[in-house]
């Protein structure tokens, strides 16, 4: 058992004090004695001195025992309590002190326990609130991104540096028009999280808009947004509305604080064309008609003279005839255009014709309890319709057929005729009179007891279309035919692409609001904050200097520590040489697949634009870089950005592992492999590996790009040359 030194010290002092006290007592006695008595006492005590010392020692032992008990109670117990309280203080989970020592000590422990319990409760409460709050924030973020994804308006949100924080699919499609390489990069090099919007719009134009907003904010305007119109390289007119993003905690003294801006894009070319068509029609209608009417009236007035010569009468009649013909032609022309130009104000949406037919089939079957078959449908047709009311009209007509003519079977048919689509509702048997059709057309539509303030005619007119009844006597069939407008090619394209984006994409990163202009050199930036282009290539072989070529490039972006699965670059290339059979076994890319694809001279500039302002990452990067470097001279494209190699950095993190092949690393990190040995699949896996390596490197003190590059160079693998 270890004895406290202070205890020993106290005991020694007690022993000394006792010895001193004994000495003083003896000395006092000694002086009161006569010399003879002193001799007798001396003779008596002298030989028994040891006994005296023994008695002193025994007394000391008693005192020491008492002291030790006291020590234990009043020094040792508080000391232990102190230690335990310190543990309690540092503890992250709930914990209690055991009762020990005197009554006071026990009470003290209990009080400390109570304090600790109070602290734990507060801490739990806080943690709970934090969890809840972050959950709410996440929910709001999700809601917003869902909203953005579905929005039919193009939206781009940027921070003050013009870096894109959010964009939706519409915006991506619209800004494609600005791409120099629409076929290859498809605008992915322009619009992406963390990319600069100034690659698309002139910085001055945006700055001017922000200045306007600033002025309005200072004046205290309620909605301080502004707009500008710009042209795309393809000559389309784009109206851009700019609205400020204001920090949430705006205080009164800081009304003009702006942390970013929202851009809403609108292609006004189509509106513009419609407007000018409308103008032309209106012009023809007013001025043209006035002139004609003037000629006719003047001629008519002249014809009123009784003494008119027959020859002049003939000429005036000719004028009347000619102007009447011109007027008629003008009206015909107007009607033809007005359906597109004047009546398209009702908001119609693009819809795949086949979808409309399927929806109609389901609804008629449900409402009329009759089987409806789909006769023939042109699957490629995109309509421009107001589907809800159109379905109502179809269902309404079907229900009258069933109720009044006991029609058993109905059929639907859709085909394109010229610039329009024909949608037919066909039945076998009874034909009806034109009057009946007229009433059905003009009656307010009824469903059961519910009557709508809308007729079939209204619905048809909203579409600028027509509807009629026809019969085919030979087949003993009759049908209602609807003429409906088709979507334009551009509208079709956009609608198709909106449909194809099946999963909800990662189009936003609000954390970028906090990121300001990067002042420091790339090399000194944290690995976790850099933007990366992670890529992989498939090649015809392993030796670029012996004529092997790239046949596929796949790349994906990492911004702000997030893998952006939607912002990818994937392209097959024509290597302009034969692909060896041996390599086909690895990558599965055959000669047929690459024929007609662009060559390296076209693809490399697009990839270069895609990778702009990012750090390149590849597995065994030296191999891919060698291919790229050998093309510098012929393509004029050089990759000067820093390059990181996941193979080398994996070796830095796990120096004792045998294999640093992509599969082995992926297995270590438990990453699911998909599409191995396609450029895109490998790039994705490499990106995931890289995201996992970043924190591991950080734990080793490798935090900046410079440190990572130095560490990679120092590894054994770095000495291998390709």
């Amino acid at each position: 058992m270890r004895v406290d030194r202070r205890l020993l010290l106290v005991m020694a002092m007690a022993g000394l004090a006792m010895a001193g006290w004994l000495g003083v007592t003896a000395a006092l006695l000694w002086f009161t004695l006569e010399p003879a008595q002193r001799e007798i006492v001396g003779a008596l005590i002298g030989p028994r001195m040891a006994l005296l010392a023994l008695s002193w020692a025994a007394a000391l032992a008693l005192v020491a025992a008492g002291l030790r008990t006291l020590w234990r109670t009043y020094v040792r117990v508080p000391a232990r309590l102190l230690e335990e309280t310190r543990v309690l203080l540092a503890a992250t989970s709930a914990q209690q002190l055991g009762p020990r020592g005197s009554a006071e000590m026990r009470a003290l422990s209990a009080a400390i326990n109570a304090l600790a319990a109070q602290r734990d409760h507060l801490r739990e409460d806080m943690a709970h609130q934090v969890t809840q709050a972050s959950h709410r924030v996440q929910q709001e973020k999700n809601r917003l991104s869902a909203l953005m994804a579905e929005l039919t308006q193009s939206v781009v949100v940027c921070n003050l540096d013009g870096r894109i924080l959010l964009y939706n699919n519409r915006a991506r499609l619209q800004l494609r028009e600005f791409s120099q390489m629409p076929d290859l990069a498809a605008g992915a090099e322009l619009i992406g999280i963390g990319r600069s919007i100034y690659a698309v719009f002139d910085r001055q134009m945006v700055a001017h808009a922000l200045e306007n907003i600033h002025r309005r904010l200072v004046r205290g305007a309620a909605s301080p947004s502004t707009q500008f119109v710009t042209t795309t390289p393809t000559g389309q007119l784009l109206r851009v509305q700019v609205a400020p993003v204001r920090p949430g905690e705006t205080d009164a003294g800081n009304v003009d604080a702006v942390s970013g801006f929202v851009l809403m894009l609108d292609n006004v070319m189509r509106n513009f064309e419609q407007e000018s068509l409308r103008d032309r029609l209106l012009h023809g209608l007013t001025e043209g008609s006035r002139s004609s009417l003037a000629s006719m009236q003047a001629a008519l007035d002249m014809l009123g003279y009784a003494d008119l010569e027959p020859e002049m009468r003939e000429r005036f009649m000719g004028v009347l005839h000619e102007e009447l013909t011109a007027m008629s032609a003008r009206i015909t022309d107007l009607v033809q255009h007005s359906t597109q130009g004047l009546k398209t104000r009702w908001p119609l949406e693009e819809m795949l014709g086949a979808d409309l037919v399927t929806a109609a089939q389901r609804q008629i079957e449900k409402d009329c309890q009759r089987s409806v078959t789909v006769d023939s449908v042109d699957e490629t047709l995109w309509l421009k319709v107001e589907s809800f009311t159109l379905l109502q009209a179809l269902t309404y007509l079907s229900s009258r057929l069933v109720d009044e003519f006991e029609v058993k079977f109905l059929r639907l048919r859709l085909q394109a005729v010229g610039p329009r689509a024909q949608l037919d509702l066909i039945w076998t048997g009874h034909a009806m009179s034109t009057e009946t059709v007229m009433t059905w057309e003009m009656d307010a539509m009824r469903f059961g007891t519910q009557s709508l303030p809308l007729t079939v005619r209204d619905v048809v007119e909203r579409h600028g279309g027509e509807m009629w009844f026809e019969r085919e006597r030979i087949r003993h069939e009759a049908f209602f035919r609807f003429l409906l407008p088709l979507a334009t090619a551009q509208e079709q394209l956009e609608a198709t692409q909106l449909l194809q984006s099946d999963s909800r994409p990662e189009y936003y990163d609000f954390d970028l609001f906090q990121v300001s202009a990067q002042g420091s050199e790339l090399d000194d930036q944290l690995l976790s904050e850099l933007s990366y282009t992670v890529f992989d290539t498939e090649t015809t072989g392993l030796d670029p200097s012996q004529g092997d070529e790239i046949i596929q490039i796949g790349a994906v972006r990492i911004v702000n520590g997030k893998l952006l699965r939607q912002e990818i670059f994937e392209q097959l290339l024509d290597p302009e040489r034969l692909i060896p059979a041996a390599s086909i076994q690895i990558h599965g890319i055959t000669q047929d697949m690459v024929s007609g694809k662009p060559g390296i001279g076209k693809v490399l500039p697009a990839f270069h634009a895609f990778a702009k302002d990012t750090v390149l990452v590849a597995h065994n990067a030296a191999f891919d870089m060698k291919f790229l470097q050998l093309k510098e001279a012929s393509t004029g494209v050089a990759f000067h950005q820093p390059v990181l190699d996941t193979l080398l950095l994996s070796a830095v993190v796990h120096p004792n592992q045998e294999s640093h092949q992509l599969e082995s690393i992926a297995e270590r990190f438990n990453i699911t492999l998909q599409g191995r040995h396609t450029a895109m699949g490998d790039a994705m896996v490499t990106a995931e590996v890289w995201l996992r390596l970043i924190p591991l490197l950080d734990a080793m003190g490798i935090q900046t790009l410079r440190q990572a590059r130095q560490a990679a160079q120092a590894t054994y693998y770095a000495r291998l040359k390709y």
């Binding site: 001025e287 009417l293 003037a294 006719m296």
Partner: protein, 124 residues
Amino acid sequence: MSKKILVADDEPNIVISLEYLLKREGYTVLVARDGQQALETITLEKPDLVLLDVMMPLKTGFEVCQAVRANEDLQATKILMLTAKGRDTDVAKGTALGADDYITKPFSTRELAEKVARMLGGLP
């Protein structure tokens, strides 16, 4: 001597009626098919009054009107503008450029004849 009137309009169908009407009223009638021809005829023939259509090829009625008013020798020429545009902005422009009166198509020939007579001081 009868008053001289120039009908300047590119639409033959209105010219034929106006020509016939004005001749019946006892005026001497000249015809111009476009703005350029109209200006030349005015300079050469110095008619008392011009029926000037606004929309004509080569030179519009506005241009012709402005040119006539800029020429010192032609100050006596009365100008009656004819227009198919019904907008008051055109009336304002025509008046500002020096037209004496304005008539919008379509019009009744009687009204036109009266207007012409009034502008020429009631005499053919």
